[in-house]
Symmetry: C2
Subunit: 159 residues, 2 copies
């Protein structure tokens, strides 16, 4: 009677599973991070992406790309993180249009202290359910889907 009739059995299963994961996984990780440090999964990822780069800073637009967020969303969140002392905004030396987000020492300390619990949650909620082959399959298929959604997404550039 609805769209789902127009998908075959596996397609329907794959689609419904992805939809459910999509709702449940971020919610569970949010809960863990909220309890551990009063921040959201998105907040955490912003800090994580900064912590991984040489110098711990990135232009807003690059940071937006690496967190799959709009510039607007990122701007609001950086304002919030700035108020907590975890991130600072700096001018770009060569292009005055660019704002550079810079992880502070306090921000680095925060993510270092949160990382073990967060990784533990990712493992126990998702990875522990899968065999090594499953993980490899999911990586391969997931990247195909990402490529379709955004053909030059940054995670594809690393390969």
């Amino acid at each position: 009677m609805t769209e789902l009739r127009w998908l075959n059995a596996d397609e329907r299963r794959a689609w419904l599973a992805l939809l459910s994961i999509n709702t449940l996984l971020p919610a569970a990780l949010d809960t863990q991070l909220q309890a551990a440090g009063k921040l959201s999964l998105f907040d955490y990822n912003v800090l994580a992406m900064l912590s991984e780069t040489e110098g711990r800073f990135l232009p807003m637009s690059e940071l937006a790309a690496r967190t799959s967020a709009s510039l607007s969303r990122l701007s609001h969140v950086v304002t919030k993180l700035q108020k907590r002392g975890w991130v600072e905004r700096e001018a770009h030396p060569r292009d005055a249009r660019v704002t550079v987000a810079h992880l502070t020492e306090a921000g680095m300390d925060t993510i270092v202290s949160l990382a073990p619990g967060h990784v533990g949650a990712v493992r126990s909620l998702m990875l522990d359910a899968m065999t090594d082959d499953d993980v490899a399959d999911l990586a391969r298929i997931g990247e195909k889907i990402v490529a379709r959604l955004d053909d030059d997404h940054w995670i594809l550039r690393e390969r």
Copy 2:
């Protein structure tokens, strides 16, 4: 320097891909549905779940389970859908605590008219990127993850 170092290569790829899909896919589907009928992916799913059941009605808690939502979120959304004339709230005949959400004719017409475009978007954004084997693998792995997140999730009950 962050958590990601503690995941091996495939684990990191799988996790980052899922995270990106998680942000990009709903956003793309939201955009399509917003343009086609001024509703969100979640709104659409609420209508879709109702349209699939015999009689086109479900108790709020069952509907919440089938959309992976909290009762609170669902209650707010049903209020909104009710204002648009797509859903009605009715009393349960045997248990006065229960509210039954009922899809109206107008709601049914809405979803019937939106379904082709929505399914088309699901196909072009996700399924068309995958082989039949990929789809089967994703269904299998996805259901494993769902089972870990919620071991009696409704999508697992059908099997």
